[in-house]
């Protein structure tokens, strides 16, 4: 019996820990030594994924809420703490056991700023850039019993910058050297964000497909006669992950909901 096709969002059960407080390697975390919150003194805590490192620290009441009063002043800035302080491990596990002709991808819709993924002891790199998707083919490194251990270390932006004592528009502007959001050094409307929004800040998912995968369809419409005559132009990329020629039937269907569950095709 094949596992169900489609996307499963991984937004529950994540743990996190400051990298400087974890002695284990990514390989160990995802093979022999998976982390746990207990016993007391463990550096691991419940993580806010998707969200930033500060969101996780706030969730665990390890910082005050930076958006209340002047509480942000009591949170150490990355310029003073160093990038290591806001470099965090994230960990979760998921169930996935595909059939031999199925393919599985691990998808990060955005991280900030770079990272490394460890899945069942195998390392993959997440290159720099806050506004890019990462999709890793993990078919061959899934665990045969279906229970998979995933650890991700996320590094902050390369140029987090320093906030001048007088504050100011964009701090010292160093963050602009990276391809990342720039308000995080503070602006005329917000105080600096201490971790510069480091983290797994958008959706993480696992997607299961057959031999052929649909990638980034593009829909465009063109209009004639005062928008009375309209054409829909649809283009898609297709990737054949198998080792044989794929004979495909490609379908497109456009429906509109008339009322309740009644659809017009």
């Amino acid at each position: 019996m094949a596992v169900e096709m489609g996307k499963t969002v991984l937004d529950k059960g994540w743990l996190a820990a400051r990298s400087t407080e974890v002695d284990l390697t990514g390989v160990q975390l995802t093979t022999t030594h998976p982390p746990a919150i207990s016993p007391a003194g463990s550096p691991w805590m419940e993580a806010h994924v998707p969200g930033t490192v500060l969101a996780t620290l706030l969730k665990n009441k390890l910082i005050p809420d930076p958006f209340y009063g002047l509480e942000n002043e009591s949170i150490i800035d990355i310029a003073d703490s160093g990038r290591e302080y806001y470099t965090f491990w994230f960990f979760t596990s998921f169930q996935c056991k595909p059939m031999s002709n199925q393919h599985v991808n691990l998808n990060f819709r955005a991280i900030n700023y770079s990272g490394e993924v460890y899945l069942n002891g195998h390392r993959r790199v997440l290159p720099k850039g806050m506004f890019r998707r990462h999709s890793l083919d993990i078919t061959d490194i899934l665990h045969p019993d279906g229970q998979n251990l995933l650890a991700v270390i996320i590094y902050p932006p390369d140029h987090p910058g320093r906030i001048p004592p007088e504050g100011g528009q964009g701090g010292d502007h160093e963050i602009g050297k990276d391809v990342a959001t720039q308000y995080v050094e503070g602006w005329d409307w917000i105080a600096p964000i201490r971790d510069r929004n480091t983290g797994i800040w958008d959706e993480v998912s696992v997607s299961v497909t057959g031999p052929v995968k649909i990638v980034d369809p593009h829909l465009v419409s063109s209009f004639f006669d005062g928008c009375r005559r309209v054409y829909l132009h649809a283009t898609t990329e297709l990737v054949n992950n198998s080792a044989s020629v794929a004979e495909c039937d490609l379908n497109i269907q456009v429906t509109t909901e008339l009322e309740g569950n009644v659809c017009l095709v």
Partner: protein, 237 residues
């Protein structure tokens, strides 16, 4: 006519781009911005079945038929918009992001964006120093009729202004910037609320980035030809 099946062969390990024959609609329900009409959405579903396997993958997306045009008005210097050939008076709000710790839930987006619609806005401008907003943001802009002006990540941090002076030539890695820009366009391009891409906040990006963005985002020659045909038809009529 809105259900098509096409046959495609793909070599082992192959990567192809396939364009369906265009689908014709007569008087479809159009997508309108808030205050001008309904935000009619159709569901477009694409699926691929592989011989000997069955359904291999599927994808679906709410899609709105709308035509958006804009130009700089020579008299005022302002940008004027038309939607579905109708001029629209823009009532917009500036947007950075929903939460500074990026706890960007579906519920939060829904509430934030409905609030903008309830304020009678019809456009949100996503500032270049903030995020390229997420699909959930665009989904609710599709639902509530908020046009989106989306800027890329260029601000006074990257143009040689400021004190201390910022890097005058944008981010250090221009190729990375363009990679992120291209990927972001692919992520968001099917949303009817997406009205305009802008290079950055109140300024022009470095020359090479600006040229690449303009080149990548220009109308495909096929649609350029359609536009010319349509204009010719208008003149004849």
């Amino acid at each position: 006519e809105h259900l098509q099946k096409e046959h495609v062969s793909i070599l082992p390990g192959g990567h192809v781009q396939y364009t369906f024959p265009e689908a014709f609609f007569y008087k479809p329900n159009l997508w309108w911005p808030n205050g001008m009409g309904k935000q009619s959405l159709y569901n477009v579903e694409i699926s691929v079945e592989v011989k000997g396997f069955g359904e291999s993958d599927s994808w679906s997306h709410p899609f709105g038929f709308r035509k958006i045009e804009s130009h700089i008005d020579s008299a005022t210097g302002g940008r004027l918009f038309k939607v579905n050939d109708q001029p629209i008076f823009i009532r917009g709000g500036n947007w950075i992001l929903s939460d500074g710790l990026l706890r960007l839930s579906d519920e939060r987006y829904k509430t934030d964006i409905k609030f903008h619609a309830d304020m009678n806005f019809n456009m949100i401008r996503c500032w270049g120093g903030g995020l390229a907003e997420r699909p959930e943001f665009y989904h609710y802009c599709d639902i509530y009729g908020l046009l989106v002006w989306q800027e890329f990540w260029i601000t006074g941090d990257v143009d040689g202004r400021g004190d201390p002076v910022s890097n005058p030539d944008g981010p250090l890695d221009h190729d990375l910037f363009m990679f992120c820009a291209r990927d972001t366009v692919k992520l968001l391009r099917n949303h009817p609320s997406l009205a305009l891409w802008v290079g950055g906040n109140e300024q022009v990006p470095p020359d090479d980035i600006n040229t690449a963005l303009k080149n990548d985002l220009k109308l495909h020659p096929y649609f350029q030809k359609i536009n010319e045909t349509e204009n010719l038809t208008k003149e004849l009529s």
